[in-house]
Symmetry: D2
């Protein structure tokens, strides 16, 4: 009801501003007595952290997660798992260039109008730094869902689109290149393009595709909490996301039913998967496939006109270290959110399915 919790049975609540003391969260409802590998969690965080390659922001954040509760002798206790990531880069700085300025296509204006008091340092709560907490919770969800495989990858940067469907791709390529594209040739071109964009002081948008494999049949709660509706909300809640489509998505609107229908075979698999693994809001056991659209980063190393808090026109320019393209670092965030949605729905589905008394 206040926007900082996600999930129902496996529920994450996050806190923290980009330049405050720390960010972090509380996971409530994790099943108990499950062994957790904390290194795997840190590894997921490292995939998201700044400074990992030469095409992402060089902001200095080690992003070390510390756990405060909910674990005992290496296993979950069923009580809340609290964690904290200290903001190493939160030293006193000069924010005078943005203090009273509404940066274009940022949330400065809307936060100021909504809350009347705003931590203007580095975006405060509206900074994508908050998503580090999501990655922590998602990494835990993934460990509980070991039999499933969550794979996200960059499928477009600007007009450069990966025109292969995922069965034609080698997912092991993804972590072999800084763009996290599943095709190495295209990855190289995307990397060069991003570098060029950065040189121009500009930024560029992109698309991430996500595939969830080995998904059980039956997840999703019609009519409102359909599985893809919750996946869509999860993705749209990530900073800079402007679109979501599952299966055939917008392209599918141009198809006829006779082309689009996924015929069911005697093995209960469908011959095609235009549905993207969801029928009537419930997983049908086929791979779940969806795409997420990210707008270009709003902070430019170029002068832009805008206004300040007294409605006076001013000129401003981004300072410091920013991402020229958000998608490489967003790949683990997409996976994290997907894992949380699936785990939450799995727990909910099992609540009733296992009803035997």
């Amino acid at each position: 009801m206040a926007g900082n919790s996600f999930g129902n049975i496996f529920k994450l609540t996050t806190y923290g501003e980009s330049h405050g003391v720390s960010i972090g969260g509380i996971i409530d409802g994790c099943p108990s007595n499950i062994p957790l590998d904390l290194n795997l969690i840190q590894q997921e965080l490292d995939r998201r952290k700044p400074g990992q390659s030469n095409i992402v922001t060089q902001r200095k954040e080690s992003d070390i997660v510390q756990f405060k509760s909910g674990l005992f002798e290496g296993k979950t206790t069923g009580t809340p798992i609290a964690f904290e990531i200290v903001n190493a880069d939160s030293k006193s700085k000069d924010y005078s260039h943005i203090k009273d300025v509404y940066r274009p296509s940022h949330a400065d204006f809307t936060y100021q109008k909504k809350y009347a008091n705003r931590d203007y340092r580095g975006g405060g709560r509206s900074s994508a730094r908050e998503t580090a907490s999501r990655v922590v919770a998602g990494a835990i969800a993934k460990q509980l869902l070991k039999e499933l495989k969550f794979t996200a990858y960059t499928s477009a940067v600007g007009n450069m689109q990966l025109n292969k469907d995922y069965p034609q791709l080698d997912f092991t390529n993804i972590e072999q290149n800084p763009v996290r594209c599943a095709d190495l040739d295209l990855a190289k071109k995307m990397e060069d393009y991003i570098k060029q964009i950065r040189k121009e002081g500009d930024t560029i948008g992109g698309v991430i595709t996500c595939v969830i494999q080995n998904i059980p049949v039956g997840l999703g709660e019609p009519v409102f909490d359909k599985l893809h509706a919750d996946l869509g909300k999860a993705m749209l809640s990530i900073n800079a996301v402007k679109g979501f489509e599952i299966g055939s998505g917008f392209e599918g609107t141009t198809m006829k039913g006779s082309e689009h229908n996924d015929l069911i075979q005697t093995n209960e698999q469908t011959s095609t998967n235009f549905s993207g693994g969801v029928q009537g809001g419930i997983s049908n056991g086929m791979d779940i496939v969806f795409k997420v659209a990210f707008k270009p980063v709003a902070t430019l190393m170029q002068k832009q006109k805008t206004i300040n808090t007294t409605q006076t026109e001013v000129e401003m320019q981004g300072k410091g270290r920013h991402d020229p393209c958000v998608v490489p670092r967003a790949v683990p965030i997409v996976e994290a959110m997907a894992a949380m949605v699936i785990l939450d729905h799995l727990l909910l589905h099992q609540a009733r399915k296992n009803f035997r008394f």
Copy 2:
């Protein structure tokens, strides 16, 4: 937690199968002492009902809504508003052709696997008939939001796309044609196309664009319940929807930041609106603009191969009266869901904003 409630402060819970006794719902949390025009509610229902034109299903449903509670002397009482729409067309019929068959790209298979007991008559709960209840609640939300304007219209049928942006359109055209396209020339072509598709026993997808005007600044609850995330979930929960995008959406991923940023002017309006009226998950006062992708209707008047509940291959064909294209009747549903999301967020935002004690 069970999928049949939508919203938090203004909350709709729906019930009903397509061929059961009735469908309906309960609206909990409607502000009290608000006059309601019941005719306006029925009018919205009439926009969704079968048989309204020659390009939609001819199923016979008068879809008359009856109210059971929550109203007194023409005004809301603040107590739950329950309503019922009797299923006129629920007579005993022959459903033997679908009883044991999983129709392709329908929810028969997933409902059977999830619930083990399924009302197979006409889709049961998975039928889009359920959305009539949403239209009722949305029509009430609209009356509470009289100062806002919710306008949805068909912007694509198959490959026929409306290539004008909404400021170039005359919204009064929308209800003047059975397709609910905002351009009358294109509407005629779309209508002819849909008729041809129907003749082929086939179906076709489409896109609906929705514009919300006169929206106040400040709606949306970051970081998870961002306004567009909740709009996205609402739209993705509608039958046949496979995609959602706000503002520049997927197209915006190909743009540079220098092209995409919406510069803020001294009147606090932006010069462009690639953001679609939402920044950082909060409305910025510009028009909210989003698109919704609908797949082609799964029921064909053609023979298709599929399997039955004993995993045997069978051939089946749709019977009776079905929509060749879902978008004309989905227009009021999109508006209804949008109105509910906005009202719920407005109430929530006001809860804290008006805090004075």
Copy 3:
């Protein structure tokens, strides 16, 4: 968030005013494929209905429940179960004596102040008639919990207290007398007392004790959703309830720890049960035992001073048919609420406990 839903995974939403068209509700989240005996549901309703004996109100309500959805071929489908109970006794009457009057210790004043528009006919939404919907949902919950035994009984009427602990009582007595006391001698005295009270035009309070047997270990979600906290809320939400205590309750505050501690035996049962079956908010497998305090009915057949909506002093007197003591008819309501709480917690507990993937 608006007060008319109860439960999380098994969730009831109710609607309806005492003299409107009907009352009813929607149960969302009932496990699927469970056979339901509709007669048993009606039987529970009959235990609550007016006119069943000579010490309860003679209001004429047949209270027949009709189901609208969620059932197919005698079993639950997992979709919402909607039901309606038509208000037989809602004919046009003369309500002029209460229209503008705030009846003492009724909710007229608070509803008017909160909502500004109020259905004054017979209490409207604040009437205990609403609890019939709870009995329906509780009767379904009971059928899902066949291995458990829910037994409520009248343990006090005014100063007449049943001074035996439940193991000394024969529960088969309860339905053998109109007071629903578990001791037949005392029941007769209570009955006579209630008749005398009624003759005086007065009313009297009472206490209901509830015992839940064969409860599994592990239900309850600390630290806020402790099992007894949710039971307490459930009971306090019933009309006229002013107190709740579990196990030793208020009496236990006078005891020393050395007297009060329940020693655990090698069979994992405790030698005493001052805890009332809950330790740390979680069921420990012992019987759950709690008491619920009901105030005397506020409607008197005596003249009382009060004010009207214009703050003028007036005199008023109850008309028609009212209960002199609420507890006999409240017994099935207490059981119903208890069953819903237990089922909801059981489903929630199983969601995580059964986590194996």
Copy 4:
């Protein structure tokens, strides 16, 4: 849905085990731009902390709260307020005497059965240490509700009962004595009695009365989220609480309606207040008055028989520093929970009441 969140619009989520790294929480939904006095929050914590007098546990915890987010330049920002209280007393100790033992009337047995993995050090999550987080959130709620007055006090210790109604009491006495009784003579007797009980290695129960003054009319959401139902749940969720009653409570069940009804006067106040400030689940503007029953502390400095995790009978005895009576330190907890309930309901009520668009 997992038990560690409380409230809806003003929502607290807590974490932490008594002997883990720290305890703390996240408050989501606090109205923005409200100045907070952090010293007042620490002062409330000091009222709850160990070692404050000679009749409470001498455990060494300084209980200093640190804030991590949600505050900027002394005011709330509307984003989550996270806080942490480090466990000073969490050093490595010898817990071998309780590691495998189920202490009588503690939650060891139920946590072990529910979660299968349990932090046995000092009670872990089931320790009342968790309530410090509630006091922090309650202290913030109180600051937002400056016009209201929340006063809790010890009204019984064992059989020693304070037989005066609150209008006869001087509330300034409460903080003048270590028992937090509002009558100084009785307080001295209670203090002596608690010391004697402690000398015996025993413990004793007690009752806290809470009065909320200057409450606005209209708070509470019938029919399930009645104001007193939520207050009851809040109180029953506090460690060691076994009973709750509002207004006349259990005593009121012995009264006749003609004695019990609160007559409404022309100033809209009632002549008596047997209702305890709530009618039909909604505040009527009169003082809210309720009582909370606390059982005797379960940890005794006496030998007790119990079993261990292998179902073998063992003898055990409490070690270290424990409270002989919980009520003196529970007084601020009762106030904190009450303040959170009232604030949450006030925000919710205002959401709809202020609906003007």
